[in-house]
Symmetry: C2
Subunit: 216 residues, 2 copies
């Protein structure tokens, strides 16, 4: 199996099983990876032989500890690259994901280590996601969706649930970035939208938007 294929499967299984109960279905994996379920069946069998996942037919797949370890390393590489591209090379947070998807596969721990060092071994990437350290440790930040916030309170934007360029560019238009203070002025009952105060301006944010803003 090609290393890049392995990495993409492990990373995807990791992300899918994260919130859920660890077991991932072929259908989910197929959708995320842009292949059909039959292809996934073949692949997870091979990953099982490599002892990177536990797999029982018609039940599901989950990472072994070796699989988790490798997955965390890939996540680390991805997020280090994202942060490096943003901080050192001036890419926008809407551009870094796609590039990091390629760069994360470069086979050099030393390179990642140097990149990390250059940007001061950060704990979070440009989207507010935690960066695992060399040993895979990271503090999972306990953000909540702005959608669950209460009127009158003030929050700090600490992450985004949607990483799509479209969403991130939308936030850029209102100068909403990690660290920006958001005060919830009122919550509209009808559509769940919120009237907020961001950067001293009153902005109405749709439910779609506030559901993807993670705050502290």
């Amino acid at each position: 199996m090609h290393q890049e294929t392995i990495e993409n499967y492990l990373k995807t299984i990791y992300h899918l099983s994260d919130g859920n109960a660890f077991v991932v279905t072929n259908k989910e994996l197929a959708e995320r990876l842009g292949v059909i379920p039959a292809t996934v069946t073949e692949a997870v069998k091979k990953l099982h032989v490599l002892k990177l996942v536990e797999y029982e037919k018609s039940y599901g797949t989950r990472l072994t500890s070796a699989g988790i370890k490798q997955a965390l390393n890939i996540v680390r590489r991805h997020r280090i690259w994202e942060t490096y591209l943003a901080q050192e090379l001036g890419f926008g947070w809407d551009e870094v994901h796609e590039l990091a998807e390629e760069l994360e596969h470069i086979k050099s721990d030393k390179l990642v280590q140097k990149l990390a060092q250059k940007i001061g071994n950060p704990s979070y990437d440009p989207h507010g996601d935690p960066i695992p350290d060399e040993k895979g440790r990271f503090q999972k930040a306990e953000f909540k969706k702005l959608a669950e916030a209460r009127a009158g309170k003030t929050y700090t934007l600490s992450g985004v649930a949607d990483h799509s360029p479209a969403f991130l560019k939308f936030l850029d238009r209102y100068n909403l970035k990690i660290g920006t203070t958001i005060k919830v002025l009122e919550i509209e009952n009808f559509d769940g939208s919120m009237l907020t105060l961001c950067n001293s301006k009153e902005i109405r944010l749709s439910l779609q938007v506030v559901s993807n803003l993670l705050v502290r």
Copy 2:
């Protein structure tokens, strides 16, 4: 055909045809690429269909202008990465080639442009090789081998013909780097070695070594 395969073929054909008369044999290509000639036959046929090479059976292969253009772009990407890794991330000149072999395939002109800008759009990479600009232009430096130098004269190390880590680490041991001044004290008739003055120290360099040192 996979983009990475295409790029490796174009780059290799370019390098092989550089000094020679432009036409490259399958055998040469196969050796450089680590495959057998039969594989090369298949590949160059496909490159021909893509109009990246001219190919006539049992004669040889050479790049078309479109092929040269793409080859120069790959060479640019490779050398920009090498220089970036050395200058910005502190890699040794013996380490950058291998990493650049992977990084050169990242599909983003914008990234290369930012890297180049960060290091001041240099004209030469850490080994003294010229870096083509966005349009493929570069001044081919007219270095000569130190092996062809005359006793009593003083030269400036401007490039290396051998890029192997072993050779480059050897040069490091004597603090020989691009820009170092080398005075040829005497040339030994017997084995072609040279007694030289480098960094105020007398060093004897073998024919093997002086043949791979390019000077001005």
